[in-house]
Symmetry: D2
Subunit: 397 residues, 4 copies
Amino acid sequence: MQQLPGRHFLQIPGPTNTPLPILAAIAKPTIDHRGPEFAELGLEVLAGIRSVFKTANPVVIYPTSGTGAWEAALVNTLSPGDRLLMFETGWFSTLWSKMTKSLGFEADIIKGDWRSGVDADLLEARLREDKAHSYKAVAVVHNETSTGVTSNIAAVRRAIDRAGHPALLLVDTISSLGSIDYRHDEWGVDVTVGGSQKGLMLPPGLSFNAISDKALAASRTSRFPRAFLGWEEMLSANVKGFFPYTPSTNLLQGLKVALEMLHAEGLDQVFARHARAAQATRAAVRHWGFEIQCSNEAEYSSTLTAVRLPVGHSADALRHEILERANMSLGNGLGPLADRLFRIGHLGDFNNLTVTATLSGIEMGLKARGIPHSPGGVDAAMEALAGNLPPAALAAE
Amino acid sequence: MQQLPGRHFLQIPGPTNTPLPILAAIAKPTIDHRGPEFAELGLEVLAGIRSVFKTANPVVIYPTSGTGAWEAALVNTLSPGDRLLMFETGWFSTLWSKMTKSLGFEADIIKGDWRSGVDADLLEARLREDKAHSYKAVAVVHNETSTGVTSNIAAVRRAIDRAGHPALLLVDTISSLGSIDYRHDEWGVDVTVGGSQKGLMLPPGLSFNAISDKALAASRTSRFPRAFLGWEEMLSANVKGFFPYTPSTNLLQGLKVALEMLHAEGLDQVFARHARAAQATRAAVRHWGFEIQCSNEAEYSSTLTAVRLPVGHSADALRHEILERANMSLGNGLGPLADRLFRIGHLGDFNNLTVTATLSGIEMGLKARGIPHSPGGVDAAMEALAGNLPPAALAAE
Amino acid sequence: MQQLPGRHFLQIPGPTNTPLPILAAIAKPTIDHRGPEFAELGLEVLAGIRSVFKTANPVVIYPTSGTGAWEAALVNTLSPGDRLLMFETGWFSTLWSKMTKSLGFEADIIKGDWRSGVDADLLEARLREDKAHSYKAVAVVHNETSTGVTSNIAAVRRAIDRAGHPALLLVDTISSLGSIDYRHDEWGVDVTVGGSQKGLMLPPGLSFNAISDKALAASRTSRFPRAFLGWEEMLSANVKGFFPYTPSTNLLQGLKVALEMLHAEGLDQVFARHARAAQATRAAVRHWGFEIQCSNEAEYSSTLTAVRLPVGHSADALRHEILERANMSLGNGLGPLADRLFRIGHLGDFNNLTVTATLSGIEMGLKARGIPHSPGGVDAAMEALAGNLPPAALAAE
Amino acid sequence: MQQLPGRHFLQIPGPTNTPLPILAAIAKPTIDHRGPEFAELGLEVLAGIRSVFKTANPVVIYPTSGTGAWEAALVNTLSPGDRLLMFETGWFSTLWSKMTKSLGFEADIIKGDWRSGVDADLLEARLREDKAHSYKAVAVVHNETSTGVTSNIAAVRRAIDRAGHPALLLVDTISSLGSIDYRHDEWGVDVTVGGSQKGLMLPPGLSFNAISDKALAASRTSRFPRAFLGWEEMLSANVKGFFPYTPSTNLLQGLKVALEMLHAEGLDQVFARHARAAQATRAAVRHWGFEIQCSNEAEYSSTLTAVRLPVGHSADALRHEILERANMSLGNGLGPLADRLFRIGHLGDFNNLTVTATLSGIEMGLKARGIPHSPGGVDAAMEALAGNLPPAALAAE
């Protein structure tokens, strides 16, 4: 393919635009993963990653993409044939439940409309019905990347507690970690699944399991056959900063820098920056006259916005046009939403100009494709950005 | 200084945003500048750079920033006390004439208003008056970086010819080379001065002299004391791809990639891309209701636009606000224009989204500073960009 | 840790010294893994990697370190409780058999002395005894990284054939792939396991399964619960160059360059370069008067040499001394060999001077630690290198 | 050219092997050279570079290679027709005196044998003869890169003082700065000329003038026409961390890291490391049976060793052989020494293994070319390195 001039705008909802200092860190020479320099690095990132999950408990770092950590959350805590209660929020919750079945677990799926998040009341009702406590785990997605819906995990926790159900709570936070406030300990999550290529601003290749004491206890009695993804050896080697097998050394070098960057900006500032971008993006989408896939305002995602096109217009043709004209990648509709919507990623390393540039590329694409819309979306976004506390002011607080 | 999130937008009129493949090339290990691998590199870039100047003659590459090449153009062709005729188009033409005087030459300056380019008729008149042919050289700036005015060098050539004057023609093309069509041979320029950090998309550190046969002949009789910047040894060593002293090896490695990129896109496409960006930028500026510093439509620069703020508003305060809020650098007003105007760079490695992002940052800054303007400048720019042939279509032609 | 001056010599038997062009490639911005640019990349590396395995069949690329590919070879082809016949060649064959048991398979281990490779006659005898064909697979390590012993896989194949046994043949080639000749198709291997961080010169993070038709057929009837590592979805997505979940995009960018480099040098030249380095290293070790861990000349590894120290001398203390003095990492003794031997990696991206530098660092370390040895090992190595066809001559053939 | 495997060993006496952190720093995006982030950088490097020259006075940083700083030292302090006394120590002192003449100064050259340094007694005698004080400057090279001879600048200073001569003292320290102890203030040097591409471990492109008060005073009365290289505007802009014209921003970003690295190791440790490498190199050369170009032990250079081959053997053929076989560049003989000797660079970023690797490459080359020598040079070097205080011990002091 010919290289287009200028920077590519990678505005899919992850992988995100990796900052140059992180790219520089992963391009440093690989070091001996059994030597003292590595031990320092290992201890630093294993400690640092906890703060992003807001946990005092161990976080396991896998040399895999996020799908590996999904599987790890299941195979470490459950036994063959165990039942789970899952909630269908979109494509990724569906993939996770398919994986669950592939691994031989029984997954009861609470149907969803792909436009809203986990219904905690419904969940509570289903758990109350399960008087035999046959569900060993509840598994939900915090931020559904296919729809731009963020579920309320604190409410999920309360629902489980109100039902007095002992099920483990497994949560996928892949596309929200480091971008939207997430509290592994406070919310009583048992296993949180994360990945490197979204809010952590790294390339794909690392994934995470944050583990509660209860989950750790469960792993000791779990009878599922496992090896590569087993927690035990991992946690044991991690104590001294090492790994039981060759880790993704260079990505860990990048993780160190990513954690430094997140902490230099401050997690709260990072979350606010994402919220501002999301608000501005929705302002533009509404101005254009399009529907936002997420139908519940309280569940709007801060990291991506899924936009429904009017019937008769191809979202994929629009994305293709924008890629060719504006050198920008947008997310496609997944599963039943294919070609119906496109997804705008506003997560990771970005600023106000990334947001307006992204929206301008879409608006020019809409025009080029002849898709009816009300021009001026970028103005609406600028209005929204201006109405918010700017970075400079925030930094001065 | 704290690092702001997201990409910095370096929208000064140079140095420009260096593409990552060029940064990667200059970060390759330094090679032996007397070895066979270097000879290959040297021959390649020395040949390749000629195409950008549109010359079949030698182009000298200095390991200096552009100011070195300004001096080289003078000291190689003139003798102590020689007279030059120069044209004041703005800050950089003035700096060049100051240098000329510092070096002991006599420079007659045709006054200008800093809002238009070289007046070829005036020039012709002055040359006709010089019946004794006391002017040894005419020195003008092709693209005045302080004002965003591009002078018509073909017209300058014709003026000199019509006057039948033997003066050498020296032209500074630092901020237009590789961005605006320039024809060293066709326009009969004797020495063209270029730099690496603008349209060539490199960091600063390389500069150029394209040399006509007449200039070369002049250098053989020139009595100005020179060594470091002397053409003779340089041209002699260049024949085999080498340099008489240690060259800026790593920047030459980058130059190789820069030339490949320019030729892959095609120079005509590159020029058209710059022209589109300039037109869109002016559409925004006019929409806001501000005056463009260049008062002559035929002389609008494709690489930068200088924008005059209404009296009473500080351009520097605006630029500072934008730097803090939008992580974008804009050019300042220089000399008498300090704080009166700001300059928008749209040159080098950019695309449509860079243009709209830049303009959105300015519009948000105007609002934040309370500078009266008509909102909607980005829309006007998008309109202008859309009204032009898009990159995809161009590429398909 | 303080940074020591000069280049670090990473002479462990992997991860290896990553060449700068590969580091530059993995530091390029992450691209959209569902876009057209990625599809081109995916198709290119999926095709290219086959040549390194010498197979016309598909090779699956996992976003995991090698341990993931070990597990994948098992869980895709076997069913719970299946029996395997494995051969103990050292630490890594032992780890693989432990994994096999952790996953619930039954593994019969043919004991070994950690100083020689797979005994094909013994293997044949064991298979002949298994008249019920209870062994579903034979799993061996091609190049045992803990001992520096390379087993003869063609002989293993012949042994299985002579025994008329239908077991699958699974082979770990992690530390030989791309460094020592390996022929997946010709040797009738069913699943070959590889990794990125050795002869492929990449950082850790990618692993491979080369798959025979027979293995593919077995995967269709295998009843082992699997998802993340399942071949089916992977092979299906790979057809168009894509992956069923987010791949390690940046490492794939690096893999493209690694394959280009291997093919530019020529695989046969690469193998010869490794053989020369190994021979020179052994010449030095013998000159010093130390024992080579591999006791069978026909099985000397081309990628590493494990060196036994005289009793009473600590190999780890020596390695520590060398790290501090010479800024070089060497491999440690594993399992029962801990502190008894050290391992010299001579694989990946290196040349003659890397070999002599490595050996000089060891010889200076031996002296510093007062370990009795005959000085002059580097001379012996130089003699061995000189006695071989040099690169220049090879290149000219 | 085809890329040879493994790291290239750039063992010419500069440019030197640039450490990866410095390459990474120069590959960071160019920043606005008129913005606040640049001012911080400018102030930091302008202050930091003084410590390397051991001066409390200003040091000017030019965006040129070293030749520019040679010229700057002359044109800022002298007036047309001024006389200088120079000392011929080799090729570079000769080039500098040629430049001096090209610029129209009168240079009296004290002839030398290219095997020893400045003879301070001879210098004193010549200055005593100059009762009219017609010499405005004495110009000498501290470390003659063509011969590997380091002159005693303190002795030069004393000679001038004993003669009671008011001449300025100009010293070229290009290939010693940051590698061999140098004391601009203590030795009363008036202008010291440095470059980036040797001990400072940067690519070529920056050069330096350290300036005494006396030199500064001289510059105010100097009548030599100058502009680009003029100190006045430079020093004035430097006060706030800026430059009068576009500086080599990216190399300055690298300089910041280079200074951090030098100070982290400690200048005294750096000098000791160079001295050790030089001693080990000479031990090898003597063992081989070759003559060292520097005939005076007290003047051996710590940064390079020039080795004379027996008559009848071509040094260039040897260098070519080594480049092809060992992927290593060595320095050639210059001027009358062409093909007679080769030069081994041991400066910048290196360690013990770089030294032994370099020497092993030479020894293998000698054998390949059939040049009679006593094998075992690397052993002699290892002996010399071991007899010195090792880095670990130094670091612990």
